[in-house]
Symmetry: C2
Subunit: 232 residues, 2 copies
């Protein structure tokens, strides 16, 4: 069975991506990050999801991006609640986050002699983050093959796999359902209440709720605020 | 004054690179990593060097690459002492290390709105690490400009600056001398004694000692073993 590293935040997209990789026959090594994120509760979701989906291992790498700041997720800046503005990159963007995450995935992949790295990035119903776009992923893959021992020796070719990149949130939710994902295990909110309940109004909650609505499905999560489709 | 992020291990190359960046008029933000390296003592050298060379700030980001292992610097594997073999990538290579380091540098650069990142990689008198080669650096720079907010908005262009990449160790040492570097503050050994004294026989000690010999200069560091030029 081929192996793969699967980046896993515990959210809808990375969970679906892991379920997809498992379905494709990969032995999955799930990788999460405790980077000082406001919504650290997602790590608990990641743990549950990795177990439920039969990941071979689940590692959490810790470092503190709060020391750099620059984002509502890693600094003392409010998470916006009034819906995404398609013209700007939102303040929830964490500088170079996917570059850092993929760099660690590459390190682990190289040690395990694995060539496949799955990441649940999405460039359709997404927050406009630069490091979710196909051109970024292609450039990272090219760099990765020059960065590593196996790449230099021509033994292997690293692949950054992004099965969700061209899907709408509705399509991701439908794929997750077809793959048997238990949505109750996942967590998407950027700014959960101390109880863990999702706020319902941050961009991530909004995208998720609209996806469920579009798919005509019920989201099993509880939200603090009623659904408001006006600002999506 | 333009600002720059300078990766700083406290070794000869990164110290020279920082001194060069300062000389070029950059306001330097030095960045080091506590990644579980065997020679953690280098962080003390980095602190001394950052201060001596007038870096505006010196940050140390911590994470544990020992959890992945795969290198004599991060796993329970002996550091080779019998000289480099030019045909193979040595076991001191740490998987994807420079990718991880540059990813963090990019994150900090983006928060500071800095576009210049200095790294003291060298592809002449080096250990054959894949992530020290010009093609890797070029690919990283290309990726970095697609990864970031400013890159996407076309406001800035990230530059990975590698002033030492085509220099021999002798030339680096001569440049360092011209820049007034205090060699006594630096640390190069991969496997220092508990006292901090350098082993003298690891690849890093050998390259350094040969560089000083070629430059006709005396290395002020103390070594546990006599100099042996036979295996360089």
């Amino acid at each position: 069975m081929p192996s793969a590293i699967c980046l896993l935040s515990g959210g809808l997209d990375s969970t679906t991506c892991l379920a997809y990789a498992r379905k494709q026959g990969f032995d999955c090594f799930a990788l999460s990050f405790d980077y000082g994120q406001r919504h650290k509760i997602e790590l608990e979701a990641a743990r549950r999801v990795a177990e439920a989906l039969g990941a071979r291992e689940h590692r959490v790498v810790s470092f503190d991006l709060r020391s750099f700041g620059g984002s509502a997720l890693t600094a003392d800046i409010d998470v916006p609640k009034d819906g995404p503005d398609p013209q700007t990159i939102p303040i929830t963007y964490v500088p170079a986050r996917n570059t850092v995450f993929l760099a660690f995935a590459l390190a682990w992949a190289e040690v395990l002699e694995t060539t496949d790295i799955f990441i649940g990035v999405n460039a359709i119903d997404y927050s406009g983050y630069p490091d979710c776009r196909p051109e970024f992923i292609e450039a990272f893959e090219h760099m990765a093959n020059l960065a590593t021992k196996a790449g230099v020796e021509g033994r292997t070719h690293v692949r950054i796999r992004t099965p969700l990149i061209r899907m709408s949130k509705r399509e991701i939710i439908e794929l997750a359902r077809a793959l048997g994902v238990n949505f109750r295990l996942t967590h998407s909110c950027y700014d959960p209440e101390p109880s863990g309940r999702s706020c319902g109004l941050c961009d991530s909650c909004r995208l998720r709720r609209k996806g469920f609505a579009d798919a005509g499905m019920e989201d099993p999560l509880e939200y603090a605020a009623d659904y408001d489709a006006s600002a999506i």
